[in-house]
């Protein structure tokens, strides 16, 4: 029975869709299915749905509706922000500041722009994954047109000193300030004015809304070049027939989040804290990644020495528990999480990382199930691990480190 319990702990990857959200989406697919550009009543009803959703999405970040541009997700919104500002401000400068722990939607877009002649500064983070606002200050030049630093990290949950960074950028005057708030929005208070942002990215499928919808907040007066051209949708910022059901669903999810944010934070925090203490105490050689206090209420990220992430995930999955890892093996890339490496973790610890992100569908029994299940899995895998064997024999572990690479064993 404990074995068939299903515990979803991957809310940072995506969330189930709230039943009320599904209900309203179904209505907009089966009944109010018009194209918002059509002038007949079905078109007008669809338009109304989209504009109401714009209000709802804006309200959860203290913005006004006409500052919201709907996109196909967080990734597209990040691209629109960065490419849009870069190409739109070519005449102003060519320098962008970001951090080493951004999502790939930011990092790979910046890398593409480097090929196009832009200069990008990737700021380091401390061992907790925190950016230092002083580093931002030092990196700003007369060429800087954009600073893009996330609100909170998706892997380790560290909440950045965003408002402080915002003030630093505003003092500079010229650079726009963009923030990827995909993980924060709906999980933690976000207010575009308090944060001093000019652009801000959010995504629906992280807040119990549908996949394939996101939004970019664009402060009044901020200019950018679109990346998708066509009809004059979204005030010419993003062409394409509006994903009406998706947008309406996102709006509903934002509204629910706004109405329940306080409870959600309290609920998640309690589960998170129980999970952290319940796992770190029975499992030795386990470490919490990310900031001890400045972290998202739903994020648990631990590194467990001598075991590899994917093998933990597959064993957890057998027991009905869905989690995530920063191991390269889980991503098809050859390197483990760039976030954990940027925080100074050695490769082995990065490979042994386990991210568990809680949500509204979890309860305390779920946590107890995980706490009862994971230590056994770790024990079993360690019995199989040559690194653990080395450890208990007191060997200096694996003589396999490629020369020249820093490789501390004793973390």
């Amino acid at each position: 029975m404990a074995e068939t319990r299903r515990v979803y702990l991957d809310h940072a990857a995506t969330t189930p869709v709230h039943p009320e959200v599904v209900k309203i989406m179904d209505y907009y697919m089966l009944e109010a299915f018009g194209n918002p550009s059509s002038i007949h009543s079905l078109g007008r009803e669809a338009r109304k749905g989209v504009e109401e959703a714009r209000e709802q999405v804006a309200a959860l970040m203290g913005a006004t509706a006409n500052e919201i541009v709907f996109t196909a997700g967080g990734t597209e919104a990040d691209n629109l922000a960065i490419q849009g500002v870069a190409y739109g401000r070519r005449d102003v400068g060519n320098h962008i500041i970001t951090s080493a722990i951004e999502h790939h939607a930011i990092l790979h877009t910046c890398q593409h722009l480097e090929k196009e002649g832009y200069k990008v500064t990737y700021l380091p983070v401390d061992k907790h994954g925190m950016v230092d606002p002083d580093d931002v200050k030092k990196a700003l030049t007369p060429q800087t047109i954009l600073v893009t630093i996330m609100a909170a990290n998706n892997e380790v949950g560290t909440i950045q000193p965003s408002a402080v960074i915002g003030r630093v950028v505003k003092e500079h005057g010229q650079a726009y300030y963009h923030m990827d708030a995909v993980q924060t929005y709906g999980n933690w208070p976000v207010n575009v004015n308090d944060l001093h942002v000019d652009l801000l990215t959010v995504s629906s499928h992280k807040i119990y809304g549908p996949k394939g919808v996101g939004a970019l907040y664009l402060r009044k007066g901020v200019k950018l070049v679109p990346i998708v051209f066509g009809g004059s949708h979204e005030r010419k910022r993003r062409a394409g027939t509006e994903n009406v059901p998706g947008i309406v669903g996102f709006g509903k999810a934002a509204e629910i989040a706004r109405e329940t944010l306080d409870q959600r934070i309290a609920h998640n925090t309690a589960l998170r804290d129980r999970l952290i203490s319940g796992l770190l105490s029975p499992i030795d050689y386990a470490h919490l990644n990310g900031h001890p206090t400045q972290r998202l209420p739903n994020n648990v990220n631990i590194s467990i020495e001598f075991v590899e992430g994917e093998s933990m995930l597959l064993n957890l999955d057998m027991k009905g528990i869905a989690a995530s890892s920063g191991s390269a093996c889980t991503s098809g890339s050859l390197e483990p999480s760039h976030v954990l490496l940027a925080m100074g973790l050695p490769h082995e610890l990065a490979h042994g990382s386990l991210r568990m992100t809680v949500g509204t569908d979890n309860n305390m029994e779920d946590m107890e199930h995980v706490i009862a299940t994971l230590p056994d899995i770790v024990r079993r895998l360690r019995q199989m691990s040559p690194l653990y064997a080395d450890k208990i024999k007191g060997h200096a572990a694996a003589p396999l480190t490629p020369a020249g690479e820093e490789h501390p064993h004793d973390v």
Partner: protein, 160 residues
């Protein structure tokens, strides 16, 4: 992602653990990729009498480790030497493409164990006999030579 056979070997791996007084030990892998495999063998005559593995790694790493130990038990060293990483993957009914280069190193670990054994115990006699067999087997010679050239870190495999 993984097929059933892979999952079966992953959840119930065969021949896990350490060997008491092994005749040869091979360890390959790379902490960057996150897979480290160690294979230990006991040799009787020129046959592998016992084999065990220890692996830090993903599902594919554990399953291929388990698979290769099953494949070589009782085989001659030269037969074992001929088993390639691809043959292990094939015996498992295939692996996801992105698992082919980093996690599919079990045969390399085995070859390292054989090399270790030969370095430690391979007297002139035995060695000569082996060489003779190998030459008789024609082109096998080349692959054996190539295999024993492999660096311990497994850098000879597909690519990092």
């Amino acid at each position: 992602m993984y097929n059933e056979k892979v999952m079966e070997h992953f959840y119930n791996p065969k021949n896990v653990g350490e060997l008491k007084d092994p005749d040869g030990i091979g360890r390959v892998g790379n902490p960057t990729c996150g897979d480290i495999m160690q294979i230990a063998i006991k040799v009787k005559g020129d046959r592998i009498a016992d084999v065990k593995f220890q692996t830090f790694g993903c599902g594919a790493a554990i399953a291929t480790s388990s698979m290769v130990t099953e494949m070589v038990k009782g085989k001659t060293l030269d037969e074992a030497q001929e088993i390639s990483n691809r043959a292990v993957a094939d015996a498992l009914g295939g692996l996801p493409p992105n698992k082919m280069h980093c996690s599919n190193l079990a045969a390399d670990a085995l070859h390292e164990a054989i090399k270790d054994y030969r370095a430690k115990y391979g007297g002139t006699d035995r060695n000569a006999a082996t060489q003779a067999q190998v030459q008789a087997a024609g082109e096998t010679a080349a692959s054996t030579a190539a295999a024993s050239d492999k660096p311990m870190s497994g850098e000879g495999k597909d690519k990092h």
